[in-house]
């Protein structure tokens, strides 16, 4: 027990009793995130509503040396918001205001608890967009989006969260509040600490505000789905599209197994005998989009697509993207445990990575599903296993290891968008050199000497 009575009393003074949870039933609901196998109850949950409260809580933790795990919507898939060493969960869901919205400067200032979907609904009213689009947009909060440096299908054209954070109001692990960055797009003022904190997974402090860069919402978007008889072939098409001078907003890949499960769950009329489906979204000015749809269709056909289905209207397009969104549910629903990987390789290596996964699948007899962002090489091979079957689970983990090694050999990384958290701790040393790891740990120690911020994450 690291939270004694005096600490709880002080927390209650800081946030008020209505914003402090200590009952076992409430704590049980903060033991998990969206991963399948990590669980640990905190000893208390607080919901600050102001920056000052966050600062006071973190200062208290710094003085009394108890673990603090920040949490927004709890939709992350790395174990990042699981309070693995107990202590306090710092719930930021109630700091959920969009503070400023400057259409003329393409800037928004938000609190950490704003749900990504709500931000984009508000922006849409003014013709604006915050492009990063993790599949969890209905639940993910901006604090988590920033802390995990989230990405999504739009990464191909628009990049990921780090490309859209101009500045931060940040509570350092000793409780001091600092302001980083500015509202300008360009800013060269010493080390870019804003970018250090983006993606820091709650280990270097707490975001209390973010200054976000926005873009004008593209006026038109169209979707097409290309049907392939060979999944690796589909994986190679994206490069050809890019070589033709077209940058799609999204290019997503679903393999045969996923297509079949989606059709079982919600019949959308997808071709269940196809080996792969490649979904494109093209956006921009209406005339340009129409022309690009034609050209992408032609490129797919020339590259072995059996068929290309062009969505005739927004409803049809939505059906395809609903299918894509349902993909993970389809995967997770079919296995007791799913190791949803997040390896990312250079685009040109996509076919190689797919072939390797298929090879591993055949050799092991364990299902490996391919579903992911073909556009940016972030593929999410998912291994279907059962953590309660030690032998099977062991083999699945070995497969995962093999996929990591292969991705690294292809010049890739072990996590494209999910983060290290708890899931990939054992593999970090594979991906970075000892000296780099040491620099990371030194930075952590410098900012958080007592190791109170989200302890147990990123490295073991």
């Amino acid at each position: 027990m690291t939270l004694d009575r005096a600490i709880l009393r002080r927390l209650s003074e800081i946030v008020g009793p209505a914003n402090l949870l200590t009952e076992a039933e409430d704590l049980a609901a903060y033991a998990y995130d969206a991963t399948s196998r990590w669980a640990q109850r905190p000893e208390a949950v607080v919901f600050p509503t102001t920056t000052d409260q966050v600062a006071a809580i973190v200062r208290l933790a710094h003085e009394r040396r108890f673990p603090v795990t920040p949490r927004g919507g709890g939709t992350n898939v790395s174990g990042g918001s699981v309070p693995i060493q107990g202590g306090l969960v710092l719930g930021l869901a109630r700091m959920n205001r969009i503070l400023e919205l400057h259409a003329e400067n393409l800037v928004a200032v938000v609190e950490p608890g704003v749900v990504l979907m709500n931000l984009n609904l508000a922006l849409a009213q003014q013709g604006l967009l915050f492009p990063p689009d993790p599949q969890s947009a209905v639940g993910a909060t901006l604090g988590g989006v920033v802390a995990e440096n989230a990405g999504g299908p739009a990464g191909l054209k628009y990049g990921v969260t780090k490309h859209y954070v101009l500045g931060l109001e940040w509570v350092l692990p000793d409780g001091e509040v600092v302001h980083l960055g500015a509202t300008t797009t360009k800013n060269r003022t010493g080390y870019d600490l804003t970018q250090l904190f983006v993606g820091s997974e709650g280990t270097l402090g707490v975001m209390t505000k973010a200054i976000l860069r926005l873009i004008p919402k593209p006026p038109a978007a169209r979707t097409l789905a290309a049907v392939f008889d060979e999944v690796a072939e589909a994986g190679a098409v994206v490069s050809k599209v890019l070589a033709a001078g077209i940058l799609p907003a999204k290019a997503e890949l679903l393999d045969r197994w996923v297509i079949q499960r989606i059709e079982e769950m919600m019949p959308l009329g997808l071709p269940t005998d196809a080996d792969a489906l490649l979904l494109f979204e093209l956006d921009g000015a209406p005339e340009a989009v129409d022309r690009e749809v034609e050209r992408v269709t032609a490129i797919c056909r020339a590259s072995g697509a059996r068929n290309v289905l062009v969505a005739r209207n927004a409803d049809e397009a939505l059906r395809y993207w609903t299918a894509r969104k349902a993909g993970f549910a389809a995967v997770f629903g079919k296995a007791r445990t799913t190791l949803a990987e997040d390896v990312t390789v250079p685009r040109s290596q996509i076919p190689n990575l797919i072939r390797k996964c298929k090879e591993l699948e055949r050799a092991s007899g364990i299902t490996i599903v391919i579903i992911g962002h073909a556009g940016d090489g972030n593929l999410h091979p998912s291994i279907l296993t059962d953590a309660e079957d030690p032998e099977h689970f062991q083999r699945a983990q070995e497969l995962m290891h093999a996929i990591f090694n292969h991705a690294l050999a292809l010049g890739g990384v072990i996590s494209g968008e999910h983060g290290v958290g708890l899931e990939k701790r054992p593999f970090l040393a594979l991906a970075v050199s000892p000296r780099v790891l040491q620099v990371m740990k030194d930075l952590k120690r410098l900012l958080d000497p007592h190791g109170i911020m989200n302890p147990g994450k990123i490295w073991e």
Partner: protein
């Protein structure tokens, strides 16, 4: 040995949830409190903990599960369609068995819902006393509140006005159609609300269907549909009521109700209550007979909306539709009422934002967690205000009580009406 047999039977249902947390966006109680334990995923995990023997059936657990509105928004929006509602219901049954069944509820249910005559007499007596209470000023013609010095007793809530003449006094066991030949012979399941609260609405419904060529039977042996009982976890009493209603309508091929909650409950005796092969068979047959009013009008009666005449006092008004959870997500009825409202001459239809979000009534939830119900209602109030409608129309007497309370609390200049009360 697990003390949660109903949950234990549904262990497989807990596997669907993959903890993605997308449901929180759609869960009205999560949105009201922004607290994981009061959201669909939190409830899923709590239930899982019970099944795994890590969570006792405590009253704190009961609070987390009893606050679920059972609106099913989590289920329909879940990528894996995880049946949180079924798990919550099962958990409530186990909690009730373990003693987490409030005494007040138990007494009222077992005494009054089981013995309908007593309920009728009690409410008649209450209606007489209620006339002494001040009526709420403004456009809510059918609400009363306690005098200000007593309002603490009901937390300032608007009380629905009890009928002074109950439905059994207004509608005979058999109402012949007004035209020549009966097109359809139907049984009328009134539900408690149209029988005791807004009996005039119930009588009007019978009259309207009579003019559409229905021979309407109103069997006296019917009772409460069982919804408040089943959602409180009292499956035993639920079965007694179900059996009684199945018997009361034995001779009919079609049974309709003007209450979305009743019709959805009647359709769900099978999944919720059938515990023997015999009940499974009887409940399955019964389920096939049940029609909501909209289904009856657009299905069997093939109504052309232009046939219905809007009552003079509502002509030229702007109306908006509130989807009752029990209609839109339990019975998949979304288009029909809108067709009726758009098609009727003399009404201007406006869609409110998120018309299908729960209003916060949720059966007995509003009695035990009024603060939560109010927060959920606040969201609905803003939606109604945005629509700019003069009249909010719905098809569930429960929703009408909550929407009326919400409208009064927010000082909205709107009237709340049952769909068919708009028409002559």
């Amino acid at each position: 040995m697990l003390a949660a047999p109903e949950l234990a039977k549904r262990r497989d249902l807990t596997r669907a949830c993959m903890k993605c947390g997308f449901c929180s966006y759609f869960c009205p109680t999560y949105q009201a409190e922004l607290q994981e334990g009061l959201g669909a995923r939190g409830r899923q995990m709590l239930v899982r903990n019970v099944i795994q023997g890590q969570q006792q059936l405590t009253h704190q657990l009961a609070d987390r599960l009893n606050t679920c509105t059972l609106c099913r928004a989590c289920v329909v929006n879940c990528p894996a369609k995880a049946p949180t509602d079924q798990l919550v219901l099962a958990a409530r049954a186990d909690l009730a068995n373990a003693g987490q069944y409030p005494l007040g509820k138990r007494v009222v249910f077992r005494l009054f819902l089981k013995h309908r005559r007593l309920l009728g007499l009690g409410l008649k007596w209450a209606a007489w006393w209620q006339r002494l209470l001040p009526a709420t000023a403004g456009r809510q013609g059918k609400a009363r509140h306690l005098p200000h010095f007593l309002e603490g007793l009901t937390q300032g809530r608007q009380l629905p006005q009890l009928a002074s003449r109950q439905l059994r006094q207004l509608v005979p066991p058999l109402s012949r159609p007004s035209g020549a030949l009966a097109r359809l012979r139907v049984g009328f399941f009134s539900g408690c609300s149209q029988e005791f609260l807004d009996a005039e609405s119930g009588a009007h419904l019978v009259d309207l269907l009579g003019r559409q060529g229905c021979e309407v039977h109103f069997p006296r042996a019917q009772g409460c549909c069982g919804s408040p009982v089943v959602t409180s976890g009292d499956l035993e009493l639920g079965r007694a009521l179900a059996d009684q209603n199945v018997a009361a309508f034995r001779d009919f091929d079609l049974v309709f109700s003007g209450c979305a909650s009743c019709s959805s409950m009647l359709k769900e005796y099978l999944p919720c209550l059938a515990n023997t092969p015999e009940r499974r068979q009887r409940y399955a047959q019964f389920q096939a007979k049940i029609r909501n009013v909209s289904e009856l009008l657009f299905g069997e009666l093939r109504l052309d909306p232009a046939q219905l005449k809007v009552k003079p006092e509502y002509r030229g008004k702007r109306v908006t539709w509130h989807d009752p959870c029990h209609l839109v997500r339990y019975q998949d009825i979304r288009a029909e009422p809108r067709r009726l409202l758009r098609g009727a001459a003399g009404l201007e239809y406006i869609e409110m934002p998120h018309a299908d979000r729960c209003c916060g009534m949720a059966g007995t939830l509003t009695l035990y967690y009024y603060d939560l119900a109010k927060k959920i209602g606040d969201v609905k109030a803003r939606a109604i205000q945005t629509s700019g409608a003069d009249i909010v129309v719905t098809e569930c007497p429960g929703c009408i009580v909550q929407l009326t309370d919400t409208a009064v609390r927010h000082g909205l200049d709107v009237q709340v009406l049952h769909l068919l009360d708009l028409f002559e």
